[in-house]
């Protein structure tokens, strides 16, 4: 564990994070160890956020820093890892909604846990989800949404998959106050409270 890296992340020193990561790699530290430090740092920020001590933009910047670290690590990890991807997932924030912080975190965690993730971004219309699944051959779809206005587009997206004959595609939803009632309303296969739930659901489907 590198306390130096953890501190740089929790103190939001973006440039230092990149420098320290490269330094650690040069010293021969394993990428997985570096990721452990990142996770530790994210836990600290997550806790602060829960306690109302961190602002949303800080959470986003932390996410950005995580991405820059993994971008550095990925080529190295790919060299070592022989593992095939667990499965293909298409994810996006549904039509009319552009909250993407949580969606990014979910996509990131799925990626980290061995899934091949296609992220369609925000305000994604139902047809776009269907089309992308047809193109990529993905078997799992993740729909994110924070506005109650997003529940109908979620429902429409589930319907669009049925209409396209893609009944086998598993659809999970999440974001904000989404619960079992909303899952039923939209007709999705499952809902998840957080990014780990998304990973667990996806693993259960491959």
């Amino acid at each position: 564990m590198s306390q130096e890296l953890i501190d740089a992340i929790t103190e939001m020193r973006e440039d230092d994070v990149v420098a320290i990561t490269n330094q650690l790699l040069d010293q021969g530290v394993a990428p997985t160890d570096i990721l452990m430090s990142c996770k530790q740092a994210m836990d600290v920020i997550g806790k602060r956020f829960e306690e109302g001590d961190a602002f949303i933009p800080e959470l986003i910047l932390a996410g950005e820093m995580m991405t820059s670290v993994t971008d550095i690590l990925k080529p190295r990890m790919a060299e070592e890892a022989t593992s095939d991807k667990l499965g293909k997932i298409v994810i996006g924030t549904v039509q009319g909604d552009i909250h993407d912080i949580a969606k990014d975190i979910v996509a990131f965690m799925l990626d980290l846990n061995g899934f091949d993730v296609t992220d369609l971004g925000v305000d994604v219309p139902p047809e776009k989800f269907v089309q992308t699944v047809q193109e990529t051959g993905a078997t799992i779809v993740g729909l994110s949404g924070f506005l109650t206005l997003a529940f109908d587009p979620m429902k429409d997206t589930v319907t669009a998959f049925k209409a396209a004959g893609l009944d086998d595609v598993k659809i999970m939803i999440g974001g904000g106050q989404i619960d079992e009632n909303i899952r039923q309303y939209t007709g999705a296969d499952a809902y998840g409270r957080d990014a780990m739930a998304a990973v667990d659901l996806a693993k259960g489907w491959v």
Partner: protein, 241 residues
């Protein structure tokens, strides 16, 4: 028949800003902390407590809230009739109808809305930016805000018809400039507020009779249907002025 003296309004400061000028004489109102909207679970609890308390002296409780991220789902009309506008959040209330809000957000989802009330209670992206500057200095705060708003293209100021708007317009324009958003003004309306206060509570409102609990399905249907999938008994959707 609605009696102002036996009716109580519960709203957050932003919506209250629009309610106060139209409040019928004798009707009481309770202001709840605006910050609560960021924590829907807390909001639900505070709302239920406020309803329970208000129903000691009132037969009818009017909520100046929308679904507000499901915070009103699960609320029970303790000893009173509970009336809630059938809208997603307060932005629809400011615009005068659910349709007006849908039209706006459908046309450009990447819109951040501002009203006089939001600016008054200091809960805007500008206020958030100020706090970040204090903590991290200007360049990093700018970078964080830009990341957060990367999908946003427009800042829309909702003109709710107050007389002293210029100050708020200038403020909204300043915020738009600071974050490189296109500034636009959207016509607001007090139609929804007026209807909440004076009726008729037609299918633009959820009306829960004493003992009933509000469900998500109530917000979906134009008319409440008996024995819907959420297991809630319907209330008549007739007007009750």
């Amino acid at each position: 028949m609605m009696q102002p003296g036996r009716t109580s309004v519960i709203a957050c400061a932003t919506v209250l800003e629009e309610i106060t000028p139209l409040l019928p004489e004798g009707m009481t109102c309770v202001e709840l902390d605006f910050g609560l909207h960021l924590k829907p679970a807390n909001l639900k609890q505070v709302l239920q407590e406020a309803i329970d308390k208000a129903s000691e002296d009132a037969d009818t409780v009017l909520l100046g809230y929308g679904l507000c991220s499901m915070a009103v789902v699960g609320l029970t009309a303790t000893n009173c009739t509970l009336v809630v506008p059938k809208v997603d959040d307060c932005i629809a209330i400011f615009m005068g109808s659910r349709q007006a809000y849908s039209a706006q957000s459908g046309a450009e989802p990447g819109t951040y809305y501002l009203t006089k009330g939001w600016i008054e209670v200091s809960d805007t992206i500008w206020d958030e930016y100020q706090k970040l500057v204090e903590r991290h200095g200007e360049p990093r705060a700018q970078r964080m805000m830009r990341l957060m708003l990367k999908n946003y293209t427009r800042l829309a100021y909702i003109d709710t018809g107050h007389r002293d708007q210029d100050h708020y317009r200038d403020y909204a324009r300043m915020v738009a400039d600071a974050f490189q958003l296109r500034y636009e003004e959207v016509q607001g309306s007090n139609r929804m507020v007026e209807k909440l206060l004076k009726g008729p509570w037609d299918d633009e409102f959820v009306v829960a009779e004493p003992g009933q609990t509000i469900s998500y399905a109530d917000f979906q249907t134009t008319n409440r249907i008996a024995g819907n999938s959420f297991g809630i008994t319907p209330a008549p959707s007739t007007s009750q002025t």
